[in-house]
Amino acid sequence: MDLNILWFLLIGVLFIGYFFLEGFDYGVGVLLPFLGKNDQERRVLINTIGPFWDGNEVWLLTAGGAIFAAFPNWYATLFSGFYMALFLMLLALIVRGVAFEFRSQDERPAWRNFWDIMIFVGSLIPALLWGVAITNLLRGVPIAANMQYTGSFWTLLSPYTLVGGLATLLIFTLHGAIFLTLKTEGQQLAGARRAASVLSILAALALLLLIILSYSNTDLFTKLGAGIVFWAALVTLLLACWLIRAGKSGWAFVMNGLTIVFATVAIFWGLFPRVMVSSLNPLWSLTVSNASSSPYTLKVMTIVALTLVPVVLLYQAWTYWVFRKRVTVKDLKY
């Protein structure tokens, strides 16, 4: 296998890791105003993701670094092309990151409310924008022969890509709700269950719509495998719907997690061997060949990644083990 194909796969894996892990902490952020009625409850919710969110976010940074190292032209065209969208996401991630740290450093309700809103907005925007972004990669954006993006911010917004955004938003929020059913107790557990059951229906509808629209908006279904995996994402989501109602939160988390995995796999599969589709001319699409680094750089990076990724997985898994207990009001520190 060529190394640039391996790196395409590896970047896919990094995005899966990012969506799977940070998906639930975005979800918890989005649910914060709905499930946290008072300051104490919000603190419980935040503490369920407190030890993890920062480590989860590094998956995104690593994916960004990996795109830069392995496919410089992809990095350059994507980030200069999706400029305003990316900028909005950066702002969201900035305020969200400091909000987690700052919100409890002052007692005043106005201060806490402000940062809690920032956590909400800062989680909602990336959860939405990632769906918009990856559906745009697949649907195609105006890229000229010289690899430069020629559209604007508004080019990125179409009914199809907005449905993509809605789907990631709902699936991530559902992921957060199911995560909370595993990490809370009592009243909050009941609230999280109710939220998960409503969200699971909405998420399934959004994903169904996305799949149907993908037939006319993309060429994903010309690849049988990608099509099957995309539909499989809906099947696991429906299973999650049922498992939530059956009270089997652990399995529901696994199934919804699989939905995230399958949907991401489907989109990357649909893309391959392109990394960004040009809507102007199929020949102008960026591909794993014309966007990639030199074979030498890919070789070096492969050795580094194959050594380090297992280590990272190991110690991140260890932290989830250390903080496996449910978080309750009793655990809050006064």
Binding site: D54, F102, V304, L308, Y334
Partner: protein
């Protein structure tokens, strides 16, 4: 052209802002780790209090460093897409390795440290903060290895219209990084040391928890003394290296227009960029030659000569960076460094005599010295980056060839304004929280043990 200037402004603003938080993270993580280690070794609760107090300040600062760092990672693609295409084959690698090897470790273990007080054994908990400190330093190495390629390209070949990596090992052993890495990390240590010394001085002035703050001060001072003295040494050798590798940068920093043998050291001068000369100079004879080449007689090349050489090599153009701000930022950095050594030595003397707490003027001077390392850090980076102009990668690509063609001036202006506003608001919030936590001082540990374990995790909540 306008987009270029705005993109440069944005890079300068966001990078400088990011680097207000990074040095303190680098140094304070080590100091907090030292404090917690003493606590684990001695079981003395005062060191636990110390770990919690300074740890809280560390966390407030750390959050700002992390979120502003995210921008740095995506910046190159957003505003500098042609740079990214040109050097991505080389420059992307250390950034990716940084995320994989260092940033993962730092973020994950910090979460463990903050929330793990009652979930881990004492020594494992202390190990977590040591790993955070180690990861921060490692992170600095990879970032600086990337930056060093921009200053002194090595291990590459120009092929397919871009710079391609030929030797990863050469990238890691770039001579430039072997000066820049210790210089930057020691700068971080000095920043944290003066932060701890200054904050301790604030409380000593108010006769507040004298024992706690004298002990904190001693730990800070140890790092401050070692850090600043080594810093000046490393800086000296780095300067000598730059005379050879980036002669234009050093000649501009010294405002040396003509070749001179021996070259004097200009202490203060009025620089006349238009006529390429200086007026009313106060200088020390032959010291410029000594600093550059360890010899009182050797010739040091001036700006005009280097400009002529570059024109022969790279074609017509202006290769002289802005001399006046470089000259003054260099002097400001060196002056700050020397002041830090002096006041550290004097504090050591007072501390040994047991008189530090009784010297309000020294304590005030220490308090007001907190900003100095910050100023020195920014001046140093200003010199490193502006001194390389007009190049973005020394000798290979110019800044005006690097900017994103797909991004309009309006878009850059919008993001520049938004970043400035948000960063401004965050700076106010950050300073407010830091001063609040500093003024409140260390908190008593609860006596009840089971409760204690819960109170400890309150660093976060």
């Amino acid at each position: 052209m306008e987009a270029l200037i705005l993109a440069r402004l944005q890079f300068a603003a966001t990078s400088s802002y990011h680097f207000l938080f990074v040095p303190l993270t680098l140094g304070l993580s080590v100091l907090v780790a030292v404090m917690e280690t003493i606590y684990v070794r001695t079981g003395n609760d005062i060191y636990k209090k110390m770990t919690l107090f300074w740890g809280k300040l560390f966390l407030i600062n750390f959050a700002m460093g992390v979120v502003t760092g995210i921008v740095q990672e995506f910046h190159f693609g957003m505003n500098w897409s042609e740079y990214s295409r040109f050097v991505g084959d080389i420059f992307g690698a250390p950034l990716a390795v940084e995320a994989l090897a260092a940033f993962f470790l730092e973020s994950t273990l910090l979460g463990v440290w903050v929330f793990g007080w009652d979930r881990l054994s004492k020594s494992l908990h202390a190990a977590a903060i040591w790993l955070v400190a180690f990861a921060s330093t490692l992170s600095a190495f990879w970032i600086l290895a990337a930056n060093s390629f921009m200053q002194e390209p090595v291990g590459y070949i120009i092929r397919n219209g871009r710079a391609e990596m030929t030797n990863f090992f050469a990238l890691l052993t770039n001579p430039h990084v072997f000066y820049q890495f210790p210089h930057t990390v020691l700068g971080g240590y000095a920043t944290a040391a003066f932060f701890v010394m200054g904050v301790s001085a604030y409380h000593l002035l108010r006769k507040n928890q004298a024992e706690f703050f004298l002990r904190s001060f001693r730990i800070g001072l140890t790092m401050g003394l070692i850090g600043t003295i080594l810093l000046v040494g490393v800086g000296h050798f780095q300067g000598q290296h730059l005379v050879n590798s980036q002669p234009m940068k050093m000649a501009a920093a010294e405002a040396l227009w003509e070749n001179e043998a021996p070259a004097p050291l200009n202490l203060i001068t009025l620089i006349d960029v238009k006529n390429q000369t200086n007026h009313s100079t106060i200088q020390l004879p032959a010291l410029g030659s000594f600093l550059a080449h360890n010899s009182f007689t050797s010739e040091v090349k001036g700006l005009k000569e280097i400009q002529a050489e570059y024109e022969t090599t790279y074609g017509p153009g202006n290769y002289i960076p802005p001399v006046t701000p470089l000259f003054w930022s260099f002097r400001l950095m060196v002056a700050a460094g020397l002041w830090m050594i002096l006041i550290s030595l004097y504090s050591l003397y007072l501390l040994r005599k047991g008189q530090l707490a009784a010297r309000p003027r020294t304590l005030k001077a220490l308090l007001w010295s907190i900003p100095l390392p910050y100023i020195a850090n920014i001046c140093g980076w200003f010199m490193a980056e502006t001194g390389r102009q007009p190049w973005i990668v020394q000798g290979l690509q110019k800044v005006n060839e690097a900017v994103s063609p797909a991004v309009s001036a309006g878009a850059v202006l919008t993001t520049l304004i938004a970043f400035t506003l948000i960063y401004g608001v965050l700076a106010v919030a950050d300073l407010y929280l830091l001063t609040k936590a500093i003024k409140r001082g260390p908190q008593e540990l609860p006596t009840d043990k089971p409760l204690a374990s819960k109170k400890e995790a309150s660093l976060w909540t």
